[in-house]
Symmetry: C2
Subunit: 298 residues, 2 copies
Amino acid sequence: MHFADRLLAACEDKGAPVCAGIDPVFERLPRDLRGDAAGPRDAPHAVEAIGRFVRGVLEAVRPHVPCVKLQSVCFERYHWRGVKLYDDMVREARAMGLIVIGDAKRGDIGISAAHYAAGCLADDVDAPGPDALTVNGYLGGDSLEPLIDVAAAQGKGLFALVRTSNPGGDALQGLKLDDGRSVGEAVADLVAQQGEAHVGERGYSLLGAVVGATKPADAASLRRHMPRQIFLVPGFGAQGGGADDVRACFKADGTGAIITASRSVNYAFEKAPEADWKQAIEAAALDLRQQIRGILRR
Amino acid sequence: MHFADRLLAACEDKGAPVCAGIDPVFERLPRDLRGDAAGPRDAPHAVEAIGRFVRGVLEAVRPHVPCVKLQSVCFERYHWRGVKLYDDMVREARAMGLIVIGDAKRGDIGISAAHYAAGCLADDVDAPGPDALTVNGYLGGDSLEPLIDVAAAQGKGLFALVRTSNPGGDALQGLKLDDGRSVGEAVADLVAQQGEAHVGERGYSLLGAVVGATKPADAASLRRHMPRQIFLVPGFGAQGGGADDVRACFKADGTGAIITASRSVNYAFEKAPEADWKQAIEAAALDLRQQIRGILRR
């Protein structure tokens, strides 16, 4: 089944186009998981604790969200042990019926791009890849092609970085070209063009776009530049994005974007009795779903 | 010692500013390493063979080049086993006195950028990081800052992607801004600015730039935009870059660039009796050194 169709169906099934971002950082885990061991420099201990945490998050959010996003570097941080855990978590989350986005922001050219497609996206005998991968298209359309090929063959998707929610994102993405477009809009056009040949039944391409939720005017413009892209929208909640920013990412029919929240879900227990950390995370996932449904109803 | 000073000294010590790129692909290994096992889908076998190959390459090039570049995805391709080997190869190459560039092209924002700095660049109890890392600055200057901080603290370096040698690189990097600069030149200015506070005794920053060796006019312009950046120049040899392309990357005094060749060195044995694969690789490394010395003398 085409990735975009599958993602839209999953969003309808769970009642909202939301994604729980999972960015596990040892130092922020609940104390009962961290224990009193040597801390983050004791990699086996840290990886074990992170594994227990991520499993807890997956169980907590599973009934309420169609999709999770695993932040690759939180695992890569612990070298091979962390990478092994990442692959295990991708497998377990997929087995729970969740759509899994690997947030690895990879990008390279030629044969190296093909290797990233094989190693970070494709299903492999050693490890099932995620359902979708975030990628960086600065290197041009041909750097995306091998990834698109694997995605098309395996019913998977990609989200190319177009506009990011960090303060410094404007420094390049906000610059104006001589034809009036911003650099971000030029990347959007490139993404739209690369994704054109891979559109599913519902009208969306397997190649989506990452569009940070902090600039409503930008989002509206990018929506026009990329009519067939599903937007993966980080920055809601902890990074400062609000309802107006989010609404501009959707089409009038309420499709076309997935809102992802990481810290506000992962670390919801920091504002609650820590012993109930799973409950706090579940409540935050439910709250995210309700907020986005509310925004889409207005 | 400052990374740029260390790199320049190593180039002088070995007699030329060259780098052997190591991009090991199981299917292209000498037959006696591949054996007759199940092939690339048998990960433990493939990783073992790749390890033997990379050790052979390191021994072959070590007397002749100051620097090696390990292509991360060739290892990531094999999930945790490959990542473990990558870390081992970084350690062994550094122990041989080679300067090691991790070619991972990472880039993310905020805390994730800090995790990439910790996981892919910093020395760690579990794994020594490489001496330098390739990074993608599309997300803006603040995405580079945590990496620069780690590099400055540990005498390491970074090479930010500015201009790539693939056919599709122009699609974005070659676009013109309303101020007359190309997008690539704008990224160059961003890199120059970010690196300004971290210049060593010889006048170069720890933040260098990746500049593909396929467009001499571009290279000359980028050289002006980035007076304090060491250029890491791929694309010489197999990707079609030639002497004129290369010369434009250097300053008049012959400093300011490292020319890297991967396939023409790694796979030199494909045009020779395969049994002597190490010798063929050593001859190719020597040849690379001689070619670049020749270009710099003219």
